[in-house]
Symmetry: C2
Subunit: 332 residues, 2 copies
DNA sequence: TTGTAAGCGTTATCAT
DNA sequence: ATGATAACGCTTACAA
């Protein structure tokens, strides 16, 4: 026997499908007794709403598309985990797409999401820019937009970002407070806004303490371990006694370099990273880092999405605070 | 103006929607010239198939549900990342659900997936058992099943698991080969089949080398860092000079304990972990570990799913090999 | 408060 | 190779 529909319920009760539909949808214009009998019969028949039919009729699904560069990065997987939790609780399912940092993949993902008529799109853009048009196109069906972490200006919808400026500021200030005198920065490719803002924080902290900045000890490379190692070598050659790093892996590379040169950490050389990856607490010496509250960020992004879906008109622009976690690598 | 449909294309071309539908679906019974004109007109009008309508008509979506305990664990996020990549390439979208190790959440997730009529379900079960009925129910609509990592017997569909036995065997054998004499095990709660199999591998390696096993140096606790520390203390008290650990965090805890007691690693004490988490290569001393090839596992699980979706009848039961990665913590 | 009836866009069946 | 037609299950004006 085939799955029961609202018609079956209606027939069994001697009423019409519209009333059943209304009762099931919680429409207030349904007599309490009618609602009760409908719900009971539905239960009795093992009725399960045909979500596809419903979505088809309404022209939109109860699905949220989440687009990230990669899901297997701790930061993103935490965000997605938290977002999924809240969205699921609100009755939405979550479709994920990875761009692997490619604009072409991002376009494809957006196309796919719009084709399955998602109710909303949550996105952290790939490092390759220039997908605004595809995003606008994907929203043409009425999907709501929440951008998080990596955000484009000039688009509709809400945004959720870290307080990157203060992350950079706090980390740098901590190094200053610990007596480091010549503090370099491995500050990431400056095409990424977040990295720009962290760098601004770094500069502000130096300025506030009357320390002149020096471009020769700033290394705007991709923040991988190897680059951290290389840049740290140059920084040390140029007289640095500390490094602010906009990533943990580059910070770790820097630490390896300093240790390989016989420097003691934190006595001779201080290092702070960013992201508070799980490994930072486990390495020797443990690595100070800026925690980005990924869980909170994911949760807030999901809430912002739900607000839009629930009819909120004015977009929200949320800043999620960061927390500097001092550890051994910079505490003397 | 509203989104164009196949009716618009048909009207514009003076043919019927059926033909347009067939042309778009790649039905061979369509004249080449007709197909061409349809595709061109579709492109011209900016036609996008209404996937919901199509799914509605066909009774099934092009969506695969993936159920895992948590997405923010490296092992699972890698699996999902790889699976998403392959499934997307095959035209499927991926819905994710987290159970957070709770059977109740797993039931809810399965219900949700069946309600959105997913074409297939890929699942690694929560540690709370007993959801077979919900799974069977969720499959009643015809969805295909692939179980991975944590697998129940007696269910339809394919399975993809690690070669846990050989992981335990190889790691233990390596310790033996490095001259460790009294090798304990932090082997995880034995309700998990994978841990059972790893433990069997451990026992077999000992037996093959003529080393008697000793239950007093086997610690079947939850494999968190703290338990690793505690168990290692007992193991050391009981004369162990090495530990096989079925997880990396417990192995790390064990390492901390050994170091805190003034033991040198690997000279005095050897440790191997399992999972090859990112941090294992970064800690001091670096931690030997069993790599589970999470990417490969995710990819193979996705392929198994695609095979079922493409009509394969006989389920596959795939074992994904593991690789022991020797590092400093056990190499002397 | 409930019923009527139309229609969402696609696809499958049957006929031509 | 194409056309005609019905149907998938639900929602929603509109009418009663």
């Amino acid at each position: 026997m085939t799955k029961p529909t609202i018609v079956d319920i209606a027939d069994a009760l001697g009423i019409t499908p519209s009333t059943v539909s209304r009762a099931l949808a919680g429409n207030p214009n349904v007599k309490e007794s009618t609602r009760k009998s409908v719900l009971q019969k539905a239960d009795e028949l093992g009725y399960q709403r045909n979500v596809i039919a419903s979505s088809f009729r309404k022209g939109v699904t109860n699905t949220i598309g989440v687009v990230v560069p990669r899901i297997d990065r701790e930061f993103f997987s935490k965000i997605i985990g938290a977002a999924e939790f809240r969205l699921n609780a609100a009755g939405y399912s979550v479709v994920i797409c990875q761009t692997r940092e490619k604009a072409a993949n991002e376009r494809k993902a957006l196309k796919m999401l719009s084709s399955i008529r998602v109710a909303g799109i949550m996105i952290s853009h790939s490092s390759e820019a220039g997908t605004e048009d595809a995003l606008v196109e994907a929203l043409s069906g009425g999907a709501k937009l929440v951008q998080f972490d990596r955000v484009y200006a000039g688009l509709p919808g809400s945004t959720v970002e870290n307080d990157d400026f203060n992350g950079g500021y706090a980390a740098t200030k901590h190094l200053i407070d610990n007596g480091y005198k010549r503090i370099g920065a491995i500050n990431g490719l400056q095409s990424t806004i977040a990295y720009q803002n962290r760098y601004k924080g770094y500069l502000a902290a130096l300025a506030d303490s009357g320390i002149p900045s020096d471009g020769s000890i700033v290394f705007p490379d991709s923040i991988v371990r190897e680059n951290g190692f290389t840049s740290a070598g140059l920084a040390i050659d140029r007289g640095c006694d500390a490094l602010y790093c906009t990533g943990d892996f580059s910070a770790f590379g820097a630490m390896e370099c300093a240790l390989s040169r016989g420097l003691r950490i934190p006595e001779d050389f201080g290092i702070v990273g960013t992201a508070n990856e799980g490994f930072t607490a486990l390495v020797t010496p443990s690595l100070s880092s800026v925690d980005q509250h990924a869980d909170e960020l994911g949760d807030k992004a999901a809430r912002a999405m739900l607000n839009l879906l629930n009819g909120r008109e004015e977009p929200e622009h949320i800043i999620v605070g960061v927390t500097f976690i001092p550890r051994r690598s910079s505490s003397r």
